[in-house]
């Protein structure tokens, strides 16, 4: 009996602390003074700019970019923090949920459904082809996480078809047959895109460790740009599987 009461009390305290923690997490993110992750509060799709602020999604017509025109404002849900476009939809994330808005009629987002937060997170997923995408999920304390392989044949009903354990996953990008995944201070990992969709055992090509903390990548045909904690780095990826460091810009 004594033990049970202890356990109940302990659980109660933890749950109260946990609720506080969540609030402080979302608040510190909205002030942007926490980590350097790419929390997107606005995104461009074609001739439209979409922004989020508190619970609202705003759409601006920027056909004339120097003269944005606010054309709609919609209440989405409490404490929304991130927005990214994906296959004709806007994915809008809070710490509790991920909302989907159909933007097939640009500038007039239409709510469709809510998908599991565990499938996509607040970071742009990378699309491999018509049916598969990759997305990282980092645990709240920044230690550990996974990369999910997601079936997106039905975008409003995505499902996880593979999961890879990661150390500290952040942003990711794809060029050719290679998926580049940032692993925070654990470096940059390269995966074979085909292998990720089949047997995962041989999917990892290599890990690059420079002592830097990697947050995000922009791979282009020849060059990969990496956002690191201290600035950015460039790599030659003419051979996508063998990046050669070109420059490291810090201070």
């Amino acid at each position: 009996m004594k033990n049970i009461i202890y356990i109940i009390c302990f659980a109660l305290i933890i749950s109260l602390h946990a609720s506080c923690g969540k609030e402080s997490l979302s608040v510190s993110n909205s002030n942007g003074s926490s980590t350097g992750g790419s929390l997107a509060r606005f995104t461009l799709v074609g001739n439209y700019l979409y922004t989020i602020s508190y619970q609202n999604l705003r759409s601006y017509d920027i056909n004339d970019p120097k003269n944005p025109i606010l054309i709609s404002e919609i209440s989405v849900g409490p404490d929304i923090e991130t927005i990214f476009p994906f296959k004709g939809y806007l994915f809008i994330g809070s710490s509790q949920a991920m909302y989907l808005y159909d933007i097939s009629f640009p500038g007039k987002p239409k709510p469709t459904s809510q998908v599991s937060y565990l499938v996509f997170t607040g970071r742009d997923p990378v699309v491999a082809n018509d049916t598969v995408a990759f997305s990282t999920v980092r645990s709240f304390n920044d230690q550990g996480g996974v990369m999910n392989v997601i079936n997106i044949r039905q975008i409003t009903n995505p499902s996880i078809i593979g999961t890879f354990i990661m150390e500290q996953p952040y942003g990711l990008g794809m060029q050719g047959e290679v998926l580049y995944v940032c692993e925070g201070d654990k470096g940059l990992k390269l995966f074979n895109v085909n292998a990720l969709q089949g047997n995962g055992n041989t999917a990892l090509i290599k890990a690059i460790q420079t002592g830097d903390t990697f947050y995000d990548v922009i791979p282009t045909q020849q060059t990969l740009y990496a956002y690191i904690k201290e600035g950015f780095m460039t790599y030659n990826i003419a051979d996508a599987k063998n990046p050669v460091q070109l420059a490291r810009i810090t201070h």
Partner: protein, 175 residues
């Protein structure tokens, strides 16, 4: 056992996110806001290169790479030769977090405003439009920490740019 239960419940309530505040606290640890001039902070300008301190998001646009300096502005680099990026300058914009570019127009936030900056000629970079108050959450109304007391911000004194820890008698705000 009942005392134990009462004690744990008491602790639990203390540790929950309580925004109500007792009127007579005495002198306690608390944060006071530091203020900046609203007119100064709402000035966006193109300036000389400066060191990267709190690196943020990167955006590639043609041969230019833009990197957010969190809360301060945007570094601009020429990456035509990616082996030797050249620093071109700095777009100063207080509270900057984000950017996106379309047709030589850069969209970013300046405090809580959405601003559009013409970057077709970097030296002649200028704000061509400003939509006020589009990001109200960018204005700091409380410190990031929780479980603390602070002096409630006074909008009449300007924009809150940071918080300093000190001792205060009966602070009126907490989180």
């Amino acid at each position: 056992m009942k005392q134990f239960l009462a004690f744990f419940l008491y602790i639990s309530v203390l540790s929950s996110c309580n925004r109500n505040i007792e009127s007579d606290l005495g002198e306690v640890d608390a944060y006071v806001p530091t203020y900046g001039s609203d007119a100064m902070l709402r000035k966006v300008s193109f300036e000389a290169v400066r060191p990267i301190v709190k690196a943020g998001k990167i955006v590639l646009y043609n041969n230019l790479l833009f990197q957010v300096e969190q809360d301060e502005g945007i570094h601009v680099f020429n990456v035509a030769n990616p082996a030797n990026p050249q620093r071109l300058g700095f777009i100063k914009s207080a509270f900057c977090k984000e950017l996106a570019i379309k047709d030589n127009h850069l969209f970013t936030n300046n405090l809580d405003d959405l601003v559009v900056i013409d970057i077709s000629s970097l030296s002649g970079t200028k704000v061509v439009n400003r939509l006020q108050g589009q990001f109200p959450e960018m204005i700091l109304q409380h410190p990031n920490e929780t479980g603390i007391y602070f002096e409630c911000p006074d909008p009449g004194k300007g924009v809150v740019t940071g918080w300093t820890k000190t001792r205060l008698k009966n602070p009126k705000c907490n989180r």
